[in-house]
């Protein structure tokens, strides 16, 4: 057991506890960025002028009429930018564009004494456009060969030879939709400028350090002149990893030019029409199986719909390519990846970060091919699982591959799957107009940023003279419970009750050069950094305690607020801290962590980019109404591997929430852009909660059993835990596959159902109608 993962007796980690802000949440006292406006004097409000074209050149921009609107204070345009007119890190995202690249693209921003004044001011701005041809769908982009960024190639073995020798070969295409984050809190920023012209920004951001860098380059300042704070976010899901920067920069620019605080909060329509989403993908593939249903080769081309600029499309694509195997050993693999450039919002990180898209391709393949191979889909999946000793196509050993089988067999037994399959068969045989389906799918998900450099973190821990502890770390809280876990880690590392530890908001002037709170890595990285800082302090205190207790420092133990030797009386923590101060012992420490053992050759797509894999298995049962295609999620059983959980209530919440969000992506959430040639071409038609439907109470599984895999110690991570943010999202593949199973039950035995994604009631209806008509996908 490593020092990092070793858990002391009576640890505070591992104890189920509610979110550290729960009492503030439920009473409405928890503050979010836009709640600070009312507490700030003299705030100006920002409103964008948005393009009504998917692609156009701006031939004239007249802002003067806006100034005639009462209450308008300033219009921000490209001419106002003192630094770099760019909102990203690739320098392909002008903050104020000369050529609009998507419907809704912000051209300039109006600042008003009230939001209403800013809105009316924006309406008064006159813009002339020269409309240009646009590409709206990924297919249009492929046809026009409109790509951006670096295409990638991943290869192992001899795919052509393996396919030539395969017993069964199938070919298919699969295009599937993206997903809107729909964090309940839209993008918001509040910028203030001080007497030196330094900027302080409250921002709803998952990546304060990068928000700081972008604001600095827009304003032409050094990073030390910009401070970003994030109290908490009302949800992020990856949507606030890259996307907040430009909005923060607008607020900061406005504050700089006017000397007044500037608030920028997007309303839902603006957020949906301006900010990036999960990438939709197009895939085409050829797959080979041997006579025993084992995968022998996969040849696939993945095209990510990147939207108008690169943003995080390249790493998203890389993760998709690294996850096309999901949990399955495929000896011969060839994957080509590329990024389409289209006139849409710039697609970005979203929980799973390409992983779900890669995994969806192989799960779709297995779901389609199982009936044609004559296998039950459960059996086909299980017989292709990675076994101990196997490696991924990019040459990383699949450590703990046996956990796939452990999770699978626990779901089989705990979920009474065999009995229910029999019940479902009987039900389907006796019902013509309604059918049930059950599917099980596994998840294997690599944990760490693919880009090795991002796998570092810092923390700052203060012990005050009265023994109270204040911790600060580089991670952000977006509801995932990171701060709760960090408090538990610090209390465990210092041997204190949780009440002695407080956490201060994330700020770039406390912990610098942080990575995004993303890739599920927040607790792994920041937890190890917090632990490191605490251990530095503990070691110094152990010296003091050893002197007082007359024992060796190595025998000093910290637990429950008492410091003691292996036997005998203890010393209260507060007393020890006070003594240490008098001895001039440093009572605070900066912690640091870098994940060891990672290496990745991005060009060759080879290496060991992941510290470990997280595993899980879900079984879902659905009931489909044959008249309408509408369905209900009757029961879900999950066993998921979070290592030794840092905080079980939080982890179960992540699993359940991720699952339902994944089910939303795959079944309900329906992004529709206007693909017509009319004047609304490129407009997002589903740009509101009334038209873009995310799961509500009616989509919650009626029975929802979630278990954490037991005895799942992870040697390489803080207190033996594993990351949990993203992996459970992909457990929702089981819902989609259960729908496929139920739709197939409307047709003759052996029907293979080609199911679109999202599998909306309408999509399911057409799929079951094809099955009824005896139409089977034949590959």
């Amino acid at each position: 057991m490593s020092l990092l993962s070793e858990r002391p007796a009576a640890a505070v980690v591992g104890v189920p506890m509610p979110h550290e802000s729960a009492a503030l949440h439920v009473t409405g006292n928890a503050l979010y960025t836009d709640d600070l406006v009312q507490r700030t004097h003299g705030v100006l409000h920002a409103w964008p002028v948005q393009s009504p074209y998917a692609h156009a050149r701006i031939t004239a921009l007249r802002v003067k009429p806006a100034y005639d609107v009462p209450g308008v204070v300033r219009v921000l345009t490209a001419e106002d930018v003192p630094g770099v007119n760019d909102a990203g890190i690739k320098h392909d995202e002008p903050l104020f564009p000369g050529e609009v690249m998507f419907h809704g693209h912000a051209i300039c921003w109006v600042l008003g004494e009230t939001l209403e004044a800013a809105r009316l001011g924006a309406l008064a701005v006159e813009v002339e456009y020269e409309s240009l041809p646009s590409l709206v769908t990924v297919r249009e982009a492929i046809e026009a060969e409109s790509f951006q960024g670096i295409g990638r190639h991943l290869e192992r073995g001899d795919v052509s030879a393996a396919l030539a020798g395969a017993a069964h070969v199938f070919r298919g295409e699969f295009e599937f939709a993206g997903q809107e984050h729909f964090y309940l809190e839209t993008h918001s920023a509040l910028a203030l400028v001080d007497e030196y012209g330094q900027i302080f920004i409250q921002s709803s951001t998952q990546h304060p350090s990068e928000t700081q860098e972008i604001v600095a380059h827009v304003l032409g300042l050094s990073s030390h002149s910009v401070t970003v704070q994030c109290l908490r976010m009302g949800g992020g899901f990856g949507g606030k990893e890259m996307q907040p920067h430009g909005f923060a920069a607008i607020a900061a620019l406005g504050a700089t030019l006017t000397g007044r605080p500037v608030r920028l909060r997007l309303n839902r329509t603006q957020d949906m029409t301006m900010s990036g989403k999960r990438h939709g993908f197009h895939s085409s593939w050829t797959v080979g199986f041997d006579a025993d249903g084992k995968l022998v080769a996969l040849d696939a081309t993945l095209t990510a719909d990147g939207g108008w600029s690169l943003d995080l499309s390249e790493p998203v694509l890389a993760r998709a390519m690294c996850h096309i195997d999901n949990a399955y050993e495929i000896p011969h693999v060839r994957v080509d990846g590329r990024i389409a450039k289209t006139n849409k919002t710039s697609q970005t990180a979203f929980r799973g970060f390409g992983g779900p898209q890669g995994m969806l391709v192989i799960e779709d393949i297995l779901g389609r091919c199982a009936p044609l191979l004559g296998y039950d889909a459960l059996e086909l999946r299980r017989r292709n699982f990675y076994q101990p000793g196997d490696s991924t196509p990019y040459a990383q050993p699949v450590r703990h591959a046996d956990r796939l089988e452990s999770c699978w067999s626990q779901v089989l037994s705990g979920g009474e799957v065999a009995a229910r399959q029999a019940e479902i068969a009987a039900f389907n045989a006796s019902h013509d107009h309604v059918k049930r389906g059950l599917a099980m799918t596994p998840v294997k998900f690599g944990i760490s940023f693919n880009l090795t450099a991002f796998n570092q973190a810092g923390a700052l821990v203060h012990v005050y003279k009265d023994g109270s502890v204040l911790i600060n770390h580089g991670g952000t809280e977006m509801g995932q419970g990171l701060h709760t876990k960090m408090l538990q880690v610090a209390a465990t590392a210092l041997g204190l009750p949780l009440s002695r530890v407080r956490l201060a908001p994330t700020r770039t002037d406390k912990v610098p050069n942080t990575s995004a709170t993303a890739a599920s890595s927040g607790a792994d990285l920041n937890g190890a950094a917090v632990k490191n800082a605490c251990e530095q302090i503990r070691e110094r205190l152990a010296q003091v305690a050893a002197g007082r207790l007359g024992i060796s420092p190595s025998d000093v133990r910290f637990a429950d607020g008492v410091v003691r030797g292996l036997s005998g009386d203890g010393l209260p923590w507060n007393e020890l801290v006070a003594a240490a101060y008098m001895q001039r012992v440093q009572l605070w420490a900066a912690g640091f962590y870098r994940t060891e053992g990672l290496h990745w050759d991005a060009n060759a797509m080879r290496g060991e980019p992941f510290k470990y894999f997280a595993y899980g298995v879900a079984a879902s049962e659905v009931e489909v109404d044959g008249f309408t295609g509408a369905y209900r999620l009757r029961r879900v059983d999950i066993v998921h591997d979070v290592g030794d959980s840092l905080s079980p209530l939080i982890d179960i919440g992540q699993i359940e929430g991720g699952f339902v969000q994944g089910a939303g992506w795959l079944t309900l959430e329906d992004l529709r852009w206007d693909e017509s040639t009319g004047e609304r071409r490129g407009r997002l038609a589903t740009q509101a909660a009334s038209t873009y439907k995310l799961p509500s109470f009616s989509e919650m599984p009626e029975v929802f059993n979630v278990q954490l895999l037991e005895k799942a110690h992870e040697d390489g991570a803080v207190y033996g835990s594993k990351a949990v943010g993203e992996p459970p999202l992909m457990l929702a593949f089981s819902v989609r596959e259960a729908l496929r199973h139920a739709a197939a039950a409307f047709g003759p035995a052996g029907t293979s159902v080609d199911l679109p994604s999202p599998a909306t009631p309408e999509a399911v209806y057409w799929a079951l109608q094809r099955a009824r008509g005896g139409v089977s996908w034949s590959g």
Binding site: R268, S690, P761
Partner: protein
């Protein structure tokens, strides 16, 4: 006027000089009560939910959860509002807050204050009592539909459901429970104006009709569930808004031997509770109509007044052969609903007229059903909605009325289908033949909710479902 005021969390607070279209949500937030949030600004997500003291059905007052984003603050003049901050504090949590907090019911917490208010309304609902429980009801009688208008993107809802089902009953000393035993605040005459426009709440029907006669540009509002969206999302700024939801003349409720009379300003929740299952077709509509938060504000008159082609009530009311009483200073007239709609969001109602009463003739047809096709079961707008009222005796269809929504510019009767059914034996053969006729009703369009071909298919499938629905399918 400067004397507009309401009671917020027990404190009387002047509304003050704010623009007339200021929403209750923005007004509360500007006063530092930032618990209620804007998540969508169109009454879909419930993050802005607050409690208002409304006249009750079973107790003098009922705490009613509504979307604060849709209501102009002027409409709450003289009323009482409770927000999440008023229900409890971190040191003294309300039972609803306690259950949500300890069970992991909040993750990011942004939607949570809204859930708290919706859940509290159900906690205090008179008549909530222990029951057997099912997949939409707890053993404590908690109706999950109370939360149908609240969206959470983090939790997956399970811990919120468990919190709701763990709730006990309000204790004897519960201050909010005690308040419900006292009369609700009366509606007060309100007049508010700013440079943007004017808000007027008249106290008599005659005064309201006089206003409409003088000001054909007036925007009539009741629950504001439609107008609020127009204001928030589409920038509508009516010069004059006239609130009619508390006019006694528009709130009649009467069931006699020959008819059911429903006042236009009754909310859908009020109608649901007062009818108590007496019109089975409407009982099927209510749980599918938007969400509890919307039904607490939206009125039956408003649903017809907007003239929307996809409202859920018109197909049902068409099947019920309902009529409308239209009132103006010129007098009253009765219009069959089937003759009411004239085009996309257009009706025979003149600018100076108000819908006063909806009349449903009795006896009801013996076989009725309501089918709603939508992406989501709770809180969604229908792609297609169908109301059925059939009279089948001795195996023969004697009479048939079928109302359709979502398949044309207006709600309409499925006249060809009705004609094809009447006189025919009610058999699978008939139904399969007539389903093909029904699939050709209307002129459905393609949009983001559904394709035209799916809408047409759903019409035919609906008749099959209606037929087979009585069987164990």
């Amino acid at each position: 006027m400067t004397n507009l005021a309401l009671t917020v969390n027990g404190e009387r607070t002047a509304i003050g000089a704010v623009p007339v279209h200021t929403s209750a949500l923005d007004w509360l937030r500007d006063r530092g009560l930032t618990g209620a949030k804007e998540g969508c600004a169109e009454g879909e997500c419930g993050a802005c939910s607050v409690l208002v003291a409304r006249p009750g059905i079973d107790t003098p007052t009922e705490w009613t959860a509504v979307n604060a984003c849709l209501l102009p603050i002027a409409s709450l003049d003289g009323q009482e509002v409770i927000t999440s901050e008023g229900l409890g504090t971190p040191a003294a949590l309300h039972p609803v807050q306690e259950e949500l907090a300890v069970r992991g019911g909040s993750q990011c917490g942004f939607c949570t204050p809204g859930f708290v208010c919706s859940m509290a309304a159900e906690y205090y609902r008179p008549g909530r009592s222990a029951c057997a429980g099912d997949h939409e009801h707890g053993a404590n009688g908690f109706d999950l539909h109370a939360l149908s208008g609240n969206l959470c993107r983090c939790t997956g809802y399970r811990p919120i459901r468990d919190a709701a089902y763990a709730l006990g009953s309000p204790g004897e000393n519960d201050a909010f429970g005690a308040r419900a035993a006292e009369p609700a605040p009366a509606a007060v005459a309100t007049g508010m104006h700013s440079s943007e426009g004017e808000f007027i709440r008249p106290t008599t029907l005659d005064a309201a009709l006089a206003l409409l006669t003088d000001r054909p540009d007036a925007q009539v509002v009741a629950g504001c569930t439609d107008t609020g969206v127009q204001v928030n999302i589409f920038g509508s700024r009516p010069a004059l808004t006239v609130a009619i939801d508390r006019l006694d003349e528009l709130r009649e409720f009467e069931v006699s031997a020959g008819e059911v009379r429903l006042g236009a300003a009754l909310t859908l929740t009020e109608i649901e509770r007062r009818l108590a299952g007496r019109v089975p077709l409407l009982s099927e509509v209510f749980p599918q109509f938007a969400s509890r938060l919307i039904r607490n504000g939206a009125t039956i008159g408003g649903n017809l007044g907007t003239g929307s082609p996809i409202g859920d009530l018109p197909p049902a009311l068409l099947a019920l052969d309902a009529s409308l009483v239209l009132a103006s200073r010129r007098g009253e007239r009765v219009v069959p609903l089937a003759d009411y709609f004239t085009g996309y969001r257009q009706t025979v109602k003149a600018a100076d007229e108000l819908i006063r009463t909806i009349v449903i003739p009795l006896p009801l047809a013996p076989m009725t059903a309501f089918h709603k096709i939508a992406k989501r079961r709770f809180d969604d707008i229908s792609s297609v909605a169908i109301g059925y009222a059939l009279d089948i005796r001795d195996g023969i269809v004697r009479d048939a009325r079928i109302g359709l929504g979502g398949v044309a510019a207006t709600p309409l009767r499925a006249r060809d289908t009705e004609a094809a059914l009447i006189g025919q034996p009610w058999t699978e053969t008939t139904v399969r033949t007539v389903a093909a006729v029904m699939a050709n009703e209307g002129t459905p369009m393609d949009d983001h909710r559904a394709s035209s071909s799916y809408r047409s298919a759903m019409l035919g499938q609906s008749l099959l479902r209606f037929y087979f629905g009585g069987l164990d399918v």
